[in-house]
């Protein structure tokens, strides 16, 4: 017998005889917060992320441009900002090891946790979101859901091969419980609320 058959038959033989109907999970979203964007902002701060307040007037990307002023290697997967490392020309993830800033657009955000969802189409090369020193994420305020129960009903989790919640920058508390932001992935994660351009519809 193959290992697969062995294991499956052992599971069948040992399965507890219980009447346990498959539970239907509620969405837990009665009384949602008045503003998903401000809840998102609070949650993001709590997890060590930075929320970039859009300027009242003028260039909406000004906070991003200010961050990039001294950056050497910038890799962008969004049409709003041009980088100097073309991700389409990257043949292997290791080529992205020297990226200072990566700029991507999130599929959506989660107000409850301050998470942004980045999938393999948003990132083009998954590793860019971890190898870059800093990550800047554009998020359409219209793309924020209430809590973590909503994302798993969305198509990104059925269509894409890879989908990852990023909630603030990488972090560790492995030495004496001291919280350090910027463990092995990005050191800073910033989110700029910015509506999608009309010609780049939601994926």
């Amino acid at each position: 017998m193959s290992s697969r058959e062995d294991i499956l038959s052992s599971v069948r033989a040992n399965l507890p005889r219980l009447e346990r109907p498959l539970p239907t999970v509620p969405m837990f979203d009665v009384n949602p917060p008045a503003s998903l964007l401000s809840t998102f902002k609070e949650s993001l701060h709590h997890m060590g992320g930075m929320f970039l307040d859009p300027p009242a007037s003028g260039d909406p990307l000004a906070p991003v441009r200010a961050k990039l002023a001294d950056a050497k290697v910038v890799c962008s997967t969004v049409p709003e900002i041009a980088g100097n490392r073309d991700i389409a020309g990257v043949s292997k993830p290791q080529d992205l090891a020297d990226v200072d800033f990566a700029i991507v657009r999130a599929s959506f955000g989660v107000a409850e946790t301050g998470s942004v969802l980045l999938n393999d189409a948003d990132l083009q090369v998954n590793a860019v979101a971890y190898l870059a020193q800093h990550l800047i994420v554009l998020l359409d305020p219209a793309d924020i859901v209430v809590n973590l129960h909503h994302p798993y009903r969305r198509r990104e989790f059925r269509d894409r091969h890879y989908a990852s919640f990023h909630t603030g920058p990488s972090a560790t508390a492995d030495i004496e419980g001291v919280l350090i932001h910027g463990a092995q992935g990005v050191r800073l994660l910033s989110v700029l609320p910015l509506a999608r351009a009309v010609d780049s519809p939601a994926r």
Partner: protein, 380 residues
């Protein structure tokens, strides 16, 4: 997809994949399953270099120790201990035990190893039957690098990690980090349900005793464990003694009820390392009746004679004595008298395990019973 009945088959499968690809180095994120399988030890024996990338796990690897906690592998070490380990292994300043400095040094030392590795390996927190999705909740970004940088990704998944549907995943993702660290979610929660365009992926589904445990009426619910570590953090025994003192892959209360399923004789004394206070069961987010199972294991192990003979004889004698109050009081008074006057060699010898590593406490001048009679008892 690969299927492994046990730890040995798991290790052979992983090695086979690496060999087929000519891979010599493997970067790894934290996985209790690979600890359970003894993967690192096995890989060393076949000449594959395994590099742990989680900070706590890396500290433990560099110090030649096993992880002492499922969520915080080096929780028993102080910053000065880490400074000493890093000074010896990755060349940091031995006098500098600043936590930021040490974490940064590990980041800088590990990054080149990640970029050069031939393969990456991760565990899995949850897998979804409905979509074939599997995911990992992580904070440092090392599991994400392990899964996304090398061309070859191997993921080991215990079969109990599979849940029915995507909608159920939200419940578990929300539970895990809250119970482990008190944060609403981990920094990263990633999900693969297919290949990376530039990569190759192997999944090893591992049984290693799980399907058999499913048939143990009193103990199968231990398979619900999501490895959050909440029971360890609340356990008065674990908090004092530390995870390494258990001498088994899984420490803490959950370890007491899982470890004997792997080896009843070897871990026969673990279920006795508990006060049965029930705090573990109270905090368990998946409602495992841990302390009741600890008690049930004691019964099973005694029935199957997995406890030492001397202990069984002593317990039988103690049972007789404790059921007769008058005999007990006479016995205690005699023992206190004896302890106060016997020569050391009578007390400290191989027969008295309680005197093996410590001094026996001084016998009281009076038993509580006789003190109570004298001070609070009814005057007759």
């Amino acid at each position: 997809m690969h299927w492994a009945r046990d730890a040995a088959e798991h290790n052979q499968i992983v090695y086979g994949i690496l060999k087929d690809h000519g891979a010599k180095s493997l970067i790894k994120s934290k996985s209790m399953l690979t600890e359970e399988c003894g993967l690192r030890h096995y890989m060393a024996s076949v000449g594959i270099e395994v590099i742990e990338t989680d900070l706590g796990e890396r500290i433990q690897q560099l110090d030649n120790e096993d992880p002492s906690h499922v969520a915080v592998p080096a929780v028993h070490k102080l910053r000065t201990d880490v400074a000493e380990v890093f000074a010896k292994t990755i060349g940091t300043d031995p006098a500098n035990s600043d936590v930021h400095y040490l974490a940064e040094a590990q980041r800088e030392a590990t990054r080149p190893l990640i970029l050069a590795a031939d393969a990456g390996m991760t565990g899995c927190n949850f897998a979804v039957a409905e979509t074939g999705t599997f995911g990992v909740c992580t904070n440092e970004g090392n599991a994400d690098l392990s899964a996304n940088v090398p061309k070859l990704h191997i993921a080991s998944i215990g079969i109990e990690k599979i849940i029915p549907r995507l909608e159920h995943l939200a419940v578990f993702v929300r539970l895990l980090s809250r119970s482990a660290l008190g944060s609403p979610v981990t920094q990263y929660t990633w999900h693969f349900r297919g290949l990376r365009a530039d990569g190759e992926m192997h999944i090893v589904l591992v049984d290693n005793g799980r399907s058999e445990r499913l048939g143990l009426e009193e103990f199968w619910t231990s398979l619900k464990c999501i490895r959050c570590g909440a029971c360890m953090n609340t356990c008065p025994v674990d908090r004092r003694s530390g995870g390494l003192s258990y001498g088994a892959t899984y420490s803490g209360p959950i370890g007491l009820i899982i470890d004997p399923t792997f080896n009843q004789r070897k871990y026969s004394n673990l279920p006795f390392a508990s006060t049965l206070n029930g705090s573990c069961s109270n905090v368990c987010p998946v409602k495992i009746n841990i302390h009741e199972q600890i008690y049930a294991w004691r019964r099973v192990l005694v029935e199957r004679h997995e406890t030492p003979l001397a202990e069984r004889v002593e317990m039988k004698a103690a049972g007789e004595l404790l059921s007769r109050p008058a005999a007990y009081r006479a016995g205690i008074a005699a023992a206190d008298m004896a302890l106060a006057h016997l020569p050391r060699w009578v007390i400290y010898n191989g027969l008295n395990a309680w005197g093996r590593h410590r001094e026996v406490p001084h016998p009281p001048k009076q038993t509580f019973h006789s003190w109570y009679q004298a001070n609070r008892g009814e005057k007759r």
